[in-house]
């Protein structure tokens, strides 16, 4: 019934938008009848000239469509901006899709001679590595369960000993609480595969992010784990990073400071690519 009413209303609106039909032309005016003449000398009947046809009505005027209502200037409230900035489809931290970071790691690695056969657990030596990393996460595919799926990738370089990694996986938002205010939380996860100079591997990752100061500072705890069973070289690898982003303006650009710890080890022997290190660095979002 309600639908029918709406349909009727729409129909009426449609008619109102059509041109107004022209009114029918008025009938021609009858010829004037001469006034009766008093009885007098009969005079010849004068036939008056035929009246001019009545002028045609003016062509129908199609009313101009009503001008679109001019919306009143709206005020962008801080809440609206917050929602715009707080987009669930950005998978890094609370509000970011990518990060480019420069950092340094300091730790230990097995003290093995180059080319030496891997052996039992032995002495360690100090190692300092510089690192350049680029990460991206895009969550654009809504799931049937109210979450967002997407892809993530990470690549980067470390120095001394030189290492390169590239990994690619599927990311998903697991939990969202809040709309960008202080304490808003987002949990996410991902899994995928990758390689570095030590091994090929599969990994799982968890992310927990929170807003510290709305629209200004947010932070993320990210942990990635590769079990030895998912490593081509029997390494178990763990990487934990804590990042804080500072957003200086009103755009998407934010700057990052982070600390991280990385441990890559074989449980049964010393291998050349084992590493246990702690470090930190700075970064920025790109898009």
């Amino acid at each position: 019934m309600k639908s029918a009413l709406i349909l009727v209303a729409l129909t009426r609106i449609a008619f109102a938008d059509e041109p107004v039909p022209a009114e029918p032309a008025p009938a021609p005016a009858p010829a004037p009848v001469p006034a009766p003449v008093p009885d007098a000398t009969p005079e010849p009947i004068v036939v008056p000239p035929a009246p001019e046809p009545a002028p045609l009505p003016p062509p129908p005027v199609v009313p101009a469509p009503a001008p679109a209502p001019v919306s009143a200037p709206t005020t962008v409230t801080s809440h609206a901006r917050s929602d715009d900035y707080y987009d669930r489809k950005r998978g890094i931290g609370m509000f970011h899709s990518s990060r480019l970071a420069l950092g340094v790691l300091a730790g230990t690695e097995p003290n093995l001679m180059p080319g030496a056969t891997p052996g039992v657990e032995g002495p360690k030596k100090d190692v300092v590595q510089g690192s350049l990393a680029f990460d991206g996460v895009f969550l654009g595919l809504p799931s049937s369960y109210g979450h967002f799926h997407g892809v993530e990738f990470s690549t980067g370089l470390r120095s001394e000993p030189i290492d390169f990694w590239a990994q690619f996986g599927t990311a998903v938002s697991l939990f969202n609480l809040g709309h960008g205010g202080a304490g808003s939380i987002r949990l996410g996860g991902s899994f995928g595969v990758g390689f570095n100079f030590a091994h090929e591997y599969a990994y799982i990752r968890g992310r927990a992010a929170a807003v510290i100061i709305p629209q200004l500072i947010d932070a993320e705890l990210s942990a990635q784990w590769t079990p030895s069973s998912a490593s081509s070289a029997n390494y178990e690898e763990r990487a934990i990073r804590i990042s804080a982003w500072y957003r200086p303006g009103q755009g998407q650009r934010a700057f990052e400071a982070y600390v991280e710890t990385i441990k890559r080890a074989d449980a049964h022997a010393d291998l050349h690519r084992e590493l246990s290190a702690v470090g930190g660095g700075i970064g920025m979002t790109l898009f």
């Binding site: 595919l141 892809v151 079990p227």
Partner: protein, 294 residues
């Protein structure tokens, strides 16, 4: 421990029929399990003569782990699409044909080898076909990526450690037909008469699956064609000592799986199934799986 497939199948069917009778509103949704797009994070338990067990040695490990499954998502499509792209690129640069002929010329045997490569037009056609194939992978109705991770050290108290993964894409309406590829390595340390024995399972092959929605349940029958089964000598399938003096045995099979699954309360994924390494034998394994869908 043995499990009888007909009994489990009958119970599953009876449960399915009772839930489809409409006598009460079911909290289970089989169609969501089949058609829904979501990622499952959960736990899996396997026992009996699962594919990780050795029928020849009579060893049945208890396996516990975590499972991550991307149903109808991008994971499987991306992996299979990447494989098609790599295969297409390799096919383009590989020789179209190689012909050799030998003949005697004086004191020498001369061998002439003629290698023919694909023309630029043929390469363009192959690129187009590859592109269409990848488009097809991303437009299929169904996809599935399932990763099972087992660990003796970090979670669970099972006897297995390793991983197994399958990637599917497929299509269909009332019956979904899916296929793809999979791989995995799982080793289990089982007590065999007081001797710890390592049962090693290796898988690289092609899974096939047919599934159907029956009311609140989804029924699936799958077969894993394990290419690594071929070439394993008989001696390796029996308990023997390796070079370190450990008791080891290799298990190989093309296992069949039949499982019943559903989504409970719109969020919880539940699966129960049986495994048969050989369809004609009565030694069956079972697996139970529960997870949360995101």
């Amino acid at each position: 421990m043995t499990y009888h497939l007909p009994r489990v199948a009958a119970l599953s069917l009876a449960l399915s029929l009772s839930l489809t009778s409409g006598a009460f509103a079911s909290p289970l949704d089989g169609k969501l399990a089949q058609d829904g797009l979501g990622i499952e994070v959960g736990a899996i338990v396997q026992g009996g003569r699962s594919e990780f067990a050795s029928n020849d040695a009579g060893l049945s490990p208890s396996s516990q782990g975590i499972v991550i499954r991307d149903r109808n998502g991008l994971s499987s499509r991306m992996v299979i699409g990447l494989l098609i792209a790599v295969a297409g690129a390799m096919a383009q640069v590989s020789p179209k044909s190689v012909e050799s002929k030998s003949y005697v010329s004086g004191d020498y045997v001369v061998t002439e080898t003629t290698t023919t490569y694909y023309s630029e037009a043929e390469k363009a056609q192959m690129r187009e076909q590859t592109s269409k194939s990848i488009d097809g992978v991303f437009s299929t109705k169904f996809s599935d990526m399932e990763l099972q991770l087992y660990s003796r050290d970090h979670f669970g108290v099972g006897e297995s450690s390793g991983y197994k993964t399958n990637f599917y894409v497929g299509s269909g309406e009332s019956i979904a037909l899916e296929s793809g590829f999979g791989f995995g390595v799982v080793d289990s340390i089982v007590d065999a008469g007081g001797t710890p024995t390592t049962v090693t399972y290796k898988y690289f092959g092609m899974p096939f699956r047919a599934s159907v929605v029956a009311g609140p349940l989804r029924l699936a029958l799958s077969y894993e064609w394990n290419w690594l089964k071929y070439g394993v000598p008989r001696a390796d399938r029996l308990v023997h000592m390796d070079e370190r003096g450990n008791a080891v045995v290799r298990t190989v099979s093309h296992p069949w799986h039949f499982d019943v699954s559903s989504i409970a309360l719109g969020r919880v994924s539940l699966t129960a199934g049986v495994t048969a390494q050989q369809i004609r034998k009565t030694d069956y394994g079972y697996y139970l799986q529960a997870g949360v869908m995101f």
